[in-house]
């Protein structure tokens, strides 16, 4: 897509893109280049010199059981967050769409957790499930269940998943609702006349027609779970217990800042870079297709 009508001039447009390019170069490309460069070195124990190790950091990482575990953790965590938040959002959107009156009110009531920062969401859920003072923990105790996400790996994972999915529901809800409202009523009415009951209609008509939205949300939610849930993990579990909730992004931070292992952290950054690139390309390929859809 190009504009037919343009203005003359060379220096003016260069001046106009300059701020963006400057910021991009200084804070995006230079650091990314640094990450790639550092990933090829190991600093000596005193931090005085760097030793070139080629792909050594990567080889080490990929054979490191902790890093491989972190990959698996990330996969489990992202899938769960995506599935939970999308399923709940779809359920609510389908219900809200069935209402003629009041769907706007419910929309207002449901959208605002979008404004809650993941880190704040983490604190809220931590409070409910706190091992000492948490209300939910206490009531679970009454039922004879001893909740302790500080020690139990599965419970820790469950908690960060729910807290991450919780804040994401409103976003998914908005897109699902818009997608549902875009399906022509006549199609659904035709199916109803054909004798399809609600669940059949949903399975055979609504859900297939909703698939562009669903696929889009799938990609966007995976990106969210990968990169934007740092705050949740950091506030609730700090990656524990025994690294059970250490997702890749958390590990870059932990190794780079807490552990000061620069070479490894840089190599992890580079691996993440590849992951984001793939996700971005998938997202854009899909958007291109959606334009034709």
């Amino acid at each position: 897509m190009e504009k037919r009508v343009t203005f003359k001039g060379i220096w003016l447009p260069i001046l106009l893109v300059f701020p963006q390019i400057l910021i991009t170069a200084v804070f995006f490309f230079y650091p990314a280049g640094q990450a790639i460069w550092q990933s090829l070195f190991i600093p000596d124990p005193f931090g005085l010199s760097m030793q070139f190790v080629g792909l050594g950091n990567f080889e080490f990482l990929l054979s490191d059981p902790y890093y491989r575990a972190s990959f698996a953790t990330t996969a489990v965590f992202s899938s769960l967050v995506t599935i939970v938040s999308m399923a709940v959002a779809l359920y609510l959107a389908v219900l809200a769409e069935r209402l003629i009156k009041g769907s706007g009110t419910y929309r207002t009531l449901l959208i605002w957790p979008y404004a809650v920062a993941p880190a704040v969401a983490g604190v809220l859920w931590l409070f409910m499930f706190n091992t000492r003072v948490g209300v939910v923990t206490w009531y679970l105790g009454l039922l004879g269940y001893d909740w302790n996400h500080v020690l139990n790996e599965g419970e820790a994972m469950g908690l960060v998943v729910v807290a991450s999915a919780w804040g994401r529901i409103s976003y998914n809800f908005l897109f699902f609702l818009a997608g549902l409202q875009a399906i022509p009523k006549s199609v659904i009415e035709a199916a109803a006349i054909d004798g399809a009951r609600f669940w059949t209609r949903f399975r055979t008509i609504v859900f297939p027609l909703l698939s562009p939205t669903t696929f889009f949300l799938l990609v966007v939610n995976i990106i969210y779970a990968f990169f934007e849930t740092f705050g949740v993990i950091h506030t609730i579990t700090s990656g524990g217990p025994q690294q059970a909730t250490t997702i890749l992004v958390y590990k870059v931070y932990a190794d780079g800042f807490v552990g000061q292992d620069l070479g490894s952290s840089a190599a992890q950054s580079v691996i993440l870079l590849v992951v984001v690139s793939i996700l971005t390309v998938v997202q854009f390929k899909f958007i291109e297709r959606r334009v034709h859809y």
């Binding site: 804070f27 650091p31 609510l92 069935r98 003629i100 404004a115 920062a117 971005t280």
Partner: protein, 284 residues
């Protein structure tokens, strides 16, 4: 729209079940926030001896004023100001530099135009999380630690905003630029007099999204603000938890959590229409 097909639209019991389902959903969304609000209005004793009450207590002013004026490490009022400056700086900064570069890319033909376009595009692939250590080093070298410029500048390049404006500019009829040329408007005049006012709604919609993005930043402020006086509220909450086995000051922490949510929630609810538009369009 009032005449709906009865076969499709549920009535009677079905309608009530629909409402019930939605109310359960709303309750699930609401409950954590409600609990936080309750906790911010009671005394510490009410919390540390579970179960805590489920209805608000009478310590609202007490707890909030304690949080705002003294907090734990720094007064929360101070952190709110920091968050405000950061969120506004990021939102406005992103909008300004994106408007300018989108204008250049759409309305001019100049050397390296395509290169610049791709450079901006590639920033999509470089979230802070994948370049934290080196970016931190750059900020440190510039002396940006514990400063507003350090909180703002490394985050204001925006491919999304640039693409959004580019897309909008492409829909502006060519004849408007030609009419402006015939009227004697030079490029910047056209930008300021015609393009900018026409982009108002897009700018406002994007502002909502970007304000929330900026306000909710966590990792970056965590890295570069070591001085509690420069903490933003979203990252400051975690800093309020004691490190050892001490018991956290829950009423103040929960009051702070509520305070951290209020500004972005006001923006979302107050500008709901623009917010939804901005959300849907920025993802196109």
């Amino acid at each position: 729209m009032a005449q709906h097909n009865g076969m499709v639209e549920k009535r009677g019991a079905g309608l009530w079940l629909t409402h019930l389902g939605l109310i359960i959903g709303v309750a699930f969304i609401f409950f954590p926030i409600w609990l936080a609000f309750v906790a911010s209005t009671v005394e510490q004793q009410d919390i540390v001896r579970p179960p805590m009450p489920l209805l608000p207590g009478d310590q609202f002013f007490e707890n909030y004023s304690r949080a705002l004026t003294s907090g734990v490490n720094a007064p929360v009022a101070r952190m709110l100001v920091n968050s405000g400056v950061m969120a506004l700086g990021i939102a406005l900064g992103k909008i300004v530099i994106s408007l300018l570069s989108a204008f250049a890319i759409v309305y001019f033909r100049f050397p390296l135009r395509k290169v610049f376009f791709w450079l901006i595009f590639l920033t999509l692939m470089l979230p802070v999380e994948v370049r934290i250590v080196p970016t931190y080093e750059v900020a440190a070298n510039f002396g940006m630690l514990n400063s507003y410029s350090g909180l703002i500048f490394p985050l204001i390049a925006s491919a999304t905003a640039t693409f959004l404006f580019r897309q909008f500019f492409m829909t502006v009829p060519d004849e408007l630029a030609e009419a402006a040329r015939v009227d004697g408007a030079r490029p910047m005049r056209f930008f300021l007099d015609i393009l900018l006012p026409m982009s108002r709604t897009n700018i406002a919609a994007l502002f909502v999204i970007l304000f929330i993005y900026g306000w909710n930043q966590y990792l970056w402020p965590l890295l570069i603000t070591t001085d509690p006086e420069m903490n933003t509220i979203v990252m400051g909450i975690k800093q309020m938890f004691p490190s050892g086995d001490d018991i956290a000051d829950w009423p103040v922490i929960m009051a702070t959590s509520i305070l951290a949510m209020v500004p972005p929630i006001i923006v979302v609810i107050g500008m709901q229409r623009l917010f939804i538009r901005g959300l849907v369009e920025s993802e196109k």
